[in-house]
């Protein structure tokens, strides 16, 4: 394009242009991060759907005699399993990949704010995890016969459950030295979060120390919140869960934001 046609097209010289608005930055970054479905769909099927389904079927069918409360725990816990794999693990893998491929450097050379990149990444992977949540929920209702009592707060609570898990993923992805190390660490954290706390089985069936450890785990708060907004009843405990999830979300994202080095020392 000649300078004349460039002028006709209204191209201002780059240095005189204004950077895009935050909303436009966020929209572009979200589109870029949503393109991750091109690789994560396999994981969505294997770890996002198959692992929660196997977990739910194994624990649900074996433990059916323990009654409906137990089955609700199993189903809510299986949804948390889907959230863990689809958010924590995929966000960690994505940040590790972005570091390895120079994508973080690339974004640092664009007029882009790093907190918007983190936010877009977290939201994109939550959106990509929605099919896993729905499939797990539907299978639980059909196979285990757990009745759903959907509360409107589910629209707020489900994304909020995903954020601290994604935040932990961002932390591991940002600080892990290699993608391989990041993969191993996130797997260990996933196992720890599922086992240390009343996530997939009721607290009455766990030793006290495991129940108490769960107070430090976002997965326990997520499981409790998911149980209340999807299967009822919603109690005052929900506000404790929401507060804890919001606090852990802010903490993990803040640390991850500090860890994304736009300018290497």
């Amino acid at each position: 394009m000649s300078p004349e046609t460039s002028a006709q097209a209204g191209h201002a010289p780059a240095a005189e242009r204004r950077p895009p608005s935050r909303r436009a930055q966020f929209a572009d970054l979200l589109l870029i991060q949503l393109s991750n479905y091109r690789w994560s769909w396999r994981g969505m099927i294997v770890t996002g759907m198959a692992v929660p389904l196997v977990n739910m079927l194994a624990l649900g069918l074996i433990g059916r005699p323990y009654g409906p409360e137990y089955l609700v725990h199993v189903l809510a816990g299986s949804i948390v399993v889907a959230l863990l794999f689809q958010n924590q693990n995929n966000v960690a893998a994505n940040f590790a990949y972005m570091r390895a491929m120079g994508t973080l450097d690339f974004f640092a050379t664009l007029p882009v704010r790093r907190y918007l990149l983190i936010l877009a990444t977290v939201i994109a992977f939550f959106l990509l995890s929605v099919p896993s949540i729905l499939v797990t929920l539907l299978a639980g209702v059909l196979v285990l016969g757990v009745p759903v009592q959907l509360h409107p707060l589910a629209l707020l609570v489900l994304p909020l459950c995903a954020v601290p898990l994604a935040g932990i993923g961002a932390l591991v992805g940002v600080f892990g030295r290699t993608p391989e190390l990041v993969g191993s660490v996130t797997l260990l954290i996933t196992i720890a979060l599922l086992l240390l706390g009343p996530v997939v089985v009721p607290p009455s069936m766990l030793p006290d120390w495991v129940v108490h450890t769960g107070y430090a785990s976002p997965a326990s708060y997520a499981a409790s919140a998911v149980r209340q907004v999807l299967f009822g009843p919603v109690t005052g405990r929900l506000w404790l869960d929401v507060g804890a999830l919001a606090g852990l979300s802010c903490l993990t994202l803040w640390i991850a934001g500090r860890g994304v080095q736009w300018r290497e020392r």
Partner: protein, 302 residues
């Protein structure tokens, strides 16, 4: 008089656990609209230098100004002014080529319509139209390099910093890239800083060159001036009809002879006399060589 695009003053950088500085007290200027080449052996500090120029790396000492603004305190100005193509890495490689160009142009401040026009122009300019809907991770190394160059150019930044832009390209694409860069420089006065090991081909476009060794400049100036300083002599290859040996001016003798070709070395000032003395009815070809940028590079680096 051209404005100074980059002013680098007493820049030093030493990486942790390294004793030798990667950049050691570098000071130089790059003018607006100039094509500036950085040559040097591996580990000479070229990439470290340009990463500081694009604000990806914090210097230990010294300052870098871009059009009079300190890059450390004006990061937003740098991102709106400079397009950077790194030596390695493949950002946005899960997007299609067209998506990567469009979104980069839009993030550099073009409207959606302008970004779409810019995408189409760059696809055509760098001959990427045929692969516009393929994701970069499925492309060959050379195609990926072309996409990265297009991404650096998206949004038409006034300064381009390109770290080995012709790596992995075949000869035809290498030549095309140099033509594209020269054209971008001439039409839009784009300032171009490029690191290359492709010294012979880069010579066609580079206006000023800095040759680095162990973190310092060992030579800095116009290639012609540097070449004169290194080797004022010219090499001449003279072909003639066999048996019809040409007459040469006094003081010039071939240092190698075959039946139909002589090789001579002459001073720059002897060239007119040599040409005047030759009988072109018997001389079939004449080739005059000065030192190349590669000779210069090898002279300073070896």
């Amino acid at each position: 008089m051209a404005r100074v695009a980059y002013r680098v003053s007493h820049l030093s950088k030493t990486f942790p656990k390294q004793r030798r500085p990667a950049n050691d007290d570098l000071s130089f200027e790059i003018l607006e609209g100039e094509i500036f080449g950085l040559l040097g052996d591996n580990g000479a500090g070229k990439t470290t230098l340009v990463r500081q120029m694009v604000n990806l790396l914090r210097p230990d000492r010294g300052t870098i100004e871009l059009f009079g603004r300190d890059v450390a305190t004006h990061p937003g100005f740098v991102t709106m002014t400079v397009g950077y193509m790194p030596q390695r890495g493949s950002a946005l490689n899960r997007l299609t080529v067209a998506e990567a160009l469009y979104l980069t142009a839009h993030l550099r401040g073009l409207t959606r319509r302008q970004a779409a026009a810019e995408r189409d122009e760059l696809l055509e300019l760098l001959r990427l139209t045929g692969i516009r809907n393929r994701s970069s991770e499925r492309l060959s190394g050379g195609q990926r390099r072309l996409v990265q160059l297009a991404v650096a150019m998206a949004g038409r930044p006034p300064v381009l910093i390109l770290d080995e832009p012709t790596n992995e390209l075949d000869p035809a694409n290498r030549r095309h890239v140099w033509d594209v860069l020269r054209d971008r420089n001439e039409r839009h006065r784009t300032t171009i800083v490029l690191i290359t090991h492709d010294a012979i081909e880069a010579e066609k476009v580079i206006e000023r060159v800095g040759i680095m060794r162990e973190g310092r400049f060992v030579a800095l100036g116009r290639p012609a001036d540097l070449k004169r300083a290194v080797s004022p002599r010219r090499h001449v290859e003279l072909s003639f009809v066999p048996g019809k040996e040409p007459a040469l001016p006094d003081g010039i003798t071939p240092w190698r002879r075959t039946e139909d070709t002589w090789w001579l070395t002459v001073d720059h000032g002897q060239v007119p006399a040599l040409l005047a003395a030759l009988d072109f009815t018997t001389v079939t070809d004449i080739r005059l060589h000065s030192a190349t940028l590669e000779d210069l590079y090898l002279h300073y680096v070896s």
